[in-house]
C-alpha cells in the first residue's frame, strides 16, 4: 500500500535500484536512441522525406501561377466542369491548388520522372491524400509547400481530401494519371 503512502525511507533517492530495472532502462534507452537516429538516417539514405522548402503565398499570386501552367501545358479537359488536365515537362514545376471542394487542375505525369510539386490552399486547411499509394500531406492556406515527387508506378491515382473542410468535404477529389 505504499504507492499512496510516503516512501518507507526518508532518503528514498539513495536506495539502490534493482538489477531488473537497470537492465530494462538500458534496453529501452538503446531502443529510443535507435528510433531517434532512424529519422536523420532516412533523410540521408531514404527516398521518402518531407522537404523543408516552403514559402508564404497569397491566393491571387498562386492562382496566377496555376493559370499560367494550365495555359502552357494543358493537354485535355475532363468532365462536365471541363477541368483541365496538365502534362508538365519533365522535371518541371507543378502548381496544384486546393479549394472548397476540389483539387485543381488534374495532372498527367510520367513514371520515374521527378517533378517539383507546389501545393497550397486558397481557403481553408485541406489534406492531400494520394490514393491508393497513401501519401498524406497537410495543405495549409498561406503557405506554399514545395516537394520533389517521383511517381514509381503507372496508373490512375486519386487525391482525396483528408482534412475536414466543411459540408462537402467528402466530395473533394482530384486525379493524377501516371504514364509509363
Amino acid at each position: 500500500m505504499t504507492s499512496f503512502m510516503p516512501p518507507a525511507q526518508k532518503n528514498w533517492w539513495a536506495v539502490p535500484v534493482g538489477r531488473q530495472e537497470i537492465v530494462w532502462i538500458a534496453i529501452a534507452l538503446v531502443w529510443c536512441l535507435i528510433m531517434f537516429f532512424m529519422m536523420p538516417f532516412w533523410h540521408m539514405y531514404g527516398d521518402q522525406n518531407i522537404s523543408n522548402e516552403g514559402y508564404r503565398v497569397t491566393p491571387i499570386k498562386y492562382q496566377a501561377k496555376v493559370n499560367e501552367m494550365i495555359e502552357k501545358y494543358k493537354v485535355r479537359e475532363v468532365g462536365a466542369m471541363k477541368t483541365p488536365v496538365v502534362a508538365p515537362p519533365d522535371g518541371g514545376d507543378i502548381y496544384l491548388m486546393a479549394r472548397l471542394w476540389s483539387w485543381y487542375p488534374m495532372l498527367e505525369l510520367k513514371k520515374d520522372v521527378t517533378y517539383r510539386l507546389h501545393l497550397t490552399s486558397i481557403d481553408w486547411n485541406h489534406g492531400f491524400s494520394l490514393q491508393p499509394v497513401n501519401i498524406n500531406l497537410q495543405v495549409v492556406p498561406g503557405y506554399e509547400f514545395v516537394l520533389n515527387i517521383t511517381p514509381n508506378k503507372a496508373g490512375e491515382y486519386t487525391i482525396v481530401c483528408n482534412e475536414y473542410c466543411g459540408i462537402m468535404h467528402h466530395t473533394m477529389l482530384g486525379k493524377i494519371w501516371v504514364k509509363e
Binding site: S3, M5, G46, Q48, Q131, V133, N134, V140, T158, K175
Partner: protein
Amino acid sequence: MAQFRQCPDTGLFFHKEAENLMKANAVAGVVCLLIAGVLALLVVLTRWPAVHLLPADAFYMVLTAHGICALIFWVIFFEMAILYFAGSTLLRSRLATPRWAWAGFVLMIVGAVMTLAAVFAGKSSVMMTSYVPMRAEPSFYLGLVIFAVGALIGCFVYLGTLVVAKNEKTYEGSVPLVTFGATVACVIAIFTIASGAEILIPTYLWSIGYISHIDPAMYRVIWWALGHSSQQINVAAHVAVWYLIAGVIFGARPMSEKVSRAAYLLYIFFLQLASAHHLMTDPGISSEWKIFNTSYAMYLAVLASMIHGLTVPGAIEVAQRKKGLTNGSFEWLRKAPWGNPVFSSMFISLVGFGFLGGISGVVMGTEQISIIIHNTIYVPGHFHATVVIGTTMAWMGLTYLLIPVLFRRKMILPQAAKLQPYIFGLGMSLVAVFHMAAGTLGVARRHWDMGFAGNPLGFEYPATAYLLMGIAGIGGVIAVAGGALFIAIAVGSLVFGEKLQKEAGLLQSFGFPLADSAYTNEKPARLPMAPAEAVEADHGEAGFEAPGTFILAMVLLVSFVIYYFINWKYLSEVWGLS
C-alpha cells in the same frame, strides 16, 4: 474548522469540502461521458458503411461535440476529482481555498455548456481542433476559454493544498508516489492551459472581428501544444491511477521510488514536445524542429512510459510473489483478481495503452512514417487506444473503487460489473485495431462518406477497407454497450446502491483501524511513512524481482521493434519524395 471523516474500508481521511468537490467533479465527468457515449454511437453508426446513419451536416456536428465532450470535458472533470483526491485525501490535508475550487467548478460547467450549446446550434461544426480560418461561433471559443480558466483554478487549488499539507505537517517524509504523479499531471495541465489561452483567446477575438488574421500554420503549432499536451495530462494522471490501484488491490509498493519518480520527471521535461506529432507533414516547419520535438528529444518521454510499463505490473508481481504466488513466471498474474472490475479495468488499461496505443503512437509520430498515416482513420484508431482504453478505463477502475469509498454506496449489479471492463475493452480494442488497419488502406478520418457520393470522378477504396470499417463499427457498438453498462452501474449505485455502514473491508487486513464514517472536527493523525519492508528471501529469479513482468516487457519491445520496421518497409514502397 475543517471537518474530516475516515473511510472505514480504506482508512483514508476525507476533508468534507474536498469530498464534495470530488463528488461534483466526478459526477459532472460521468455526465459528459454519457453525452460523449451517445454521440459516439451516432458517429459509429455513420462511419459503419452499411449503416451510414446521419446526414453529412449532422455527422460533422456530432463528431465535433463527441471529440470535445470526451477528450476535453470528461477527462478534465475527472482529473479535477483526482487532483483533489491526491492532494487532500492522500495527504490527510484540508483542501486549500474550497471556495475558489467551487468557483473553478462553476466556470468549467458554464464553459462546457456554452461550447456544447454553440456546437448543437449547428454553426460551429469545426471539429475539436477548430483550425482557422474555418470559423465557429464566438461562444464556441469563449466557452473553451472559460472552461480552461476553471480548470486552471483547480490546478492552483491543488498546488495550494500541497503547500497547506507541507506547512501543517500532515504527512511524514515525502509525498506518496501517487500524489507525485498527480503533481506532474497538474504541472503539465498548467502548461497546456497556458497554451490554450495563448491560441484560443486570440481566436475568440478574431471570431468577433477584433483581430483581422490568425496565421493558420502558427495556429496549428500552438493549438497542438494544447491538444496534445492535454492528452499528456491524461497519461501522467492515469499512470498515477495505475499505481494507486496496484497499491489498493495488492498492497503493492513501487519497485523503486527513485526510478518511478525520475520517470515522472521525464514527463515534465519532454512530454509537451509531442505537439509536433500532428505537424509532421506540415509546410513551413523544418525537419530539425520536427525530429527533435516529435521524439520528445530522443524519445525520453517514451522511455518514461516504458519504465512505468515495467514498474507498475512489476510492483504487482512483487506483491503477489510475497503472498506465495511464486510458481512459474505467471502464477501471480493468473491468480490476480480478474473478477474485480477495479483491477481488470486497470490492467486492460495498462496493456491496451502499451501495446495498442503506445506502439502505434510512436510509430505514427516518426517524422517520415507520418506520411503514410497522417489524417487517415489510423489516427482515431490510435488515440482511442490511448485515451479510451488507457485513460477512460483507468478512470472507470477508479470509479468502481470510489463508489464505496467516496460515496459510501454498495455497488449495484456486481455480476454485470465483473463483465463490464471486458465488454468495453474488447469493443474499444476492435475500434482501435480496425480503424488503424483501415487507415493503412488510406481511409480518411473526419469524413462522412468513404464512397464519395456526389463526385462524378469517382474513387473506390478497396473492398477490404469497407470490411475493416464494418468490423470497427461492430466494435464501436460493443464499446458503447460496455460504456452504457458502466454508466448504469455507476449512476445506479449512487441512486439505488445500499448505503454502507461501518463494516470491515479490504484494507483492515493491512492494519488500518476500523472507524466510523462520520465527520468530526478532529484533525487526522499525521500520515505516517509506509512501513519499512521486512528483509525477506528473494522471491524472484536470477536477481530479477519480477521475472514474469520482464518477459511481458520484452514481448512489448519485440512487437514494438517489428511493427516499427514494418512501417518503414511500407514507407519505402511509396513514391519518392524529397
